[in-house]
């Protein structure tokens, strides 16, 4: 059986100019391969380059050197519009602070990714949003404003939003960072279910040992370099 490569990075390097002059290197020659269907946790201290790596994999930053392909697509070759379309179709984002739009209802938040370029009929988008909310246990909250939900519920709405267009890759930045332990466990279970049902690849940046433990593989970053990977998380 052939294994599909979800993310392939070779010699990946990302530098940022400093305001007062000079350059800081956030990633320095990262080589990484993530297979489709894997759950990979990226860990490391603050400033190690975790979020930078996640942003590059999530195609919201392409100012890198080296090679980076997501599902075989070299990101640097895409123009701005193509990259946005790529993000829209191939990648789902889950943030630590949920980032739901407060003025929209839960359902509208979930349907938001379909607003950008997706050629899907409105009725289908709505049906799918209902279905996803059912799946994360919030089917009855479709018309509620997100501010009325608890933290865990909001994160589940964010996950439903990330899954609307069925992207093969979910990138999650500290997905349980704002949640209590019990709620975090529920979210981790949800990630497992998603991978199980859909074969979705998950890349998680975390400080939480529980999250790291739930991953198939753990990538440890230090000063922009990978200093260790384990096939099975400890």
């Amino acid at each position: 059986m052939t294994t599909t490569v979800a993310v392939a990075a070779r010699g990946l390097r990302r530098q940022f100019p400093l305001e007062g002059g000079g350059i800081v290197t956030a990633l320095d020659g990262v080589d990484l391969q993530i297979n489709a269907g894997e759950i990979v946790a990226i860990v490391g201290r603050s400033g190690a380059g975790k979020s930078t790596l996640l942003n590059l994999i999530g195609a919201i930053d392409r100012g890198y050197e080296g090679e980076l392909a997501v599902f075989g697509q070299e990101l640097r070759r895409l123009n701005e519009r193509q990259l946005a379309r790529f993000r829209n179709r191939q990648i789902g984002f889950v943030f630590q602070s949920f980032n739901l739009l407060p003025g929209l209802t839960v359902g509208d938040n979930v349907m938001l990714p379909a607003s950008f370029g997706a050629e899907m009929p409105d009725t289908m988008v709505r049906t799918r949003a209902h279905h996803l909310l059912d799946e994360v246990g919030l089917g009855d909250r479709f018309n509620q404003p997100p501010m009325q939900l608890s933290g865990g519920e909001r994160q589940r709405v964010a996950i439903a939003r990330a899954l609307l267009l069925e992207p093969p890759l979910l990138v999650c930045d500290e997905p349980t960072g704002s949640l209590d332990t019990a709620t975090a466990d529920q979210i981790l279970q949800l990630f497992q279910d998603i991978r199980q049902k859909r074969g979705t690849t998950l890349v998680l940046v975390t400080h939480d040992p529980a999250v790291a433990k739930s991953a198939d593989r753990l990538v440890r970053l230090e000063r922009g370099r990978i200093v260790g990977t384990t096939l099975e998380a400890p």
Binding site: S51, T52, N55, G58, I60, D61, E80, R81, A84, R85, R87, N88, R89, F93, F95, S97, N99, L101, P102, G103, L104, D108, L112, P113, A114, S115, F116, G117, A118, D122, R161, D173
Partner: protein, 557 residues
Amino acid sequence: MKLRRLLQLTFQNLRSSRVRTLLAMVGIIVGTALLMFFLGLGQGLRERVLNRIFPVNQLELEPRAVQLFGTQQVVGQAPLDDSRVKQLAAIPGVVRAFGKHKSAFPARLWGGRELLGYNLFTEAFFDGMPVEILRAELESFEKPNGKPASAQKPLRCDVDLDCPAGAMCQDAMCQHVVWSQHWRDTTVLALPCNKNDECQSGTCADGHCQLPNAQPLVRCMLEKAAGNGRDLEFDAERGLTAKPCDAAGGFCKTEQPCPERMYCAADHPDSTLGYCEEPLPAVINPLLLEVFNSDMARSLGAVPVGSLAVLYGVRFHVAFGDSFFTQDAARPMQQYKQAQVVGFSRKAPELGVALPLPVVAHWNHRLRGNDSQGPYDAVLLETADNEAVPQVITAAESLGFSLSRKSQAARTAGAVIFFTALGLVLLALVVLAVAGVQIAQTFAMLVHERRKEIAVLRALGATGSDVAVLVLGEAAMLGLLGGICGVGLAWLGAMGVDAAAHQWLANVPLLPEGFFVFPSWSAPLAIGVSLVCCVLGAAIPAGRASRLDPARVLAEA
């Protein structure tokens, strides 16, 4: 980005920053309201004030005069006759052209007793106008919406005064009269003359012009010489009388040997002999009534005249050759006649009376001698629309004509109104531009506050242009709402000004029904300008939003 979603996000954003949005809209609302207000005011002043006094598409032209020894002289030009009028009529954009003759002789008139209770006396000025030009206009005044204004149920009567305004007593019944039909070439008139060349057509016989194909004039005799015209009275029942006639102060009854609707017009003030003739058909400008009703009536202690309709059929006297101001003509050259109001026209002189052209031409000729400029001394042109006016003036000038003082004044007044309105509109545009700057600041702040939200949208697949469209859409919505509110405010302001004007300026002459005319394009234009100001104001913040680096913003968050 899908339109429905764009609108949804736009409304959501506007709602979430309600106070700031409303504050930003204040400038736009005020600017749009001012723009709309001044557009309406400028148009209103042109249409409802200026156009009532000087119809814009109506030009009065005279042969170009040169300054010669301190006076205006027309030299070296062919007489102003029908061929030259036809030349002017052929100018592209001209609908009609006709020659007119202004009176250049002394005359005075008096009358109004039957209406006001006493006679008014004034020096008289006349414009002679062709019948065919005024007929349609007289009919439009007399029959608004195609129906006679004075159509009434028949009433029994003994004299005209028993009948409602505009009707006349015929066969003991009040009959509706189509007054415009009294304005005709065939009016039986006795025009005095001493020799043949005083008569425009026909010959001079028995001291009067005998016109070809005209009804023969009937000789009549007054019982007593009319005497000084200032003592003449017109009474509907008794006809022309002189007072006092006897010691008891009674009226002298005059002979009335003339057919119905005619009277005996003495050959001259000292003669008892005359000819039967119909009253001169007279057309007056409706503005005259407005001027009378405003200040004149009050200062004369008279009651304002309610409507034009009551003036139909009112008779007054005209003394040709007699004047309050200048040297009278020799008494044998003078003649006292009756005239009757048969209609209203904006082409008639504002402070004078329009009479059939041959009458004015005749008296000019009789009292001022040969007129070297031909049968006309001015030409009135009507253009198809206001836009054609400048080209028509240029073409007319190349034919040796220039605008009369009246038309020049109209053009000047029009230009003053135009440039004043333009200045005020520019002021409104400046207010809108300032509001646009305010919008720019507001949106710059909003974009900064929503950086994270924008970054999330970008992460979810929005392109930079999607984000820009979102910000511009929000600005457009603001412009649209602000524009609609501004237009509403302008309308309310206009209504308020009109109401205040009628409350406080009721006695000002020529006060229009309203000072504002909002053309159909003005509201869309004002809203469009408001929209453009907002969109332009938000353009720079929208550009910044579209270039926002989502990775950096999310990292900051």
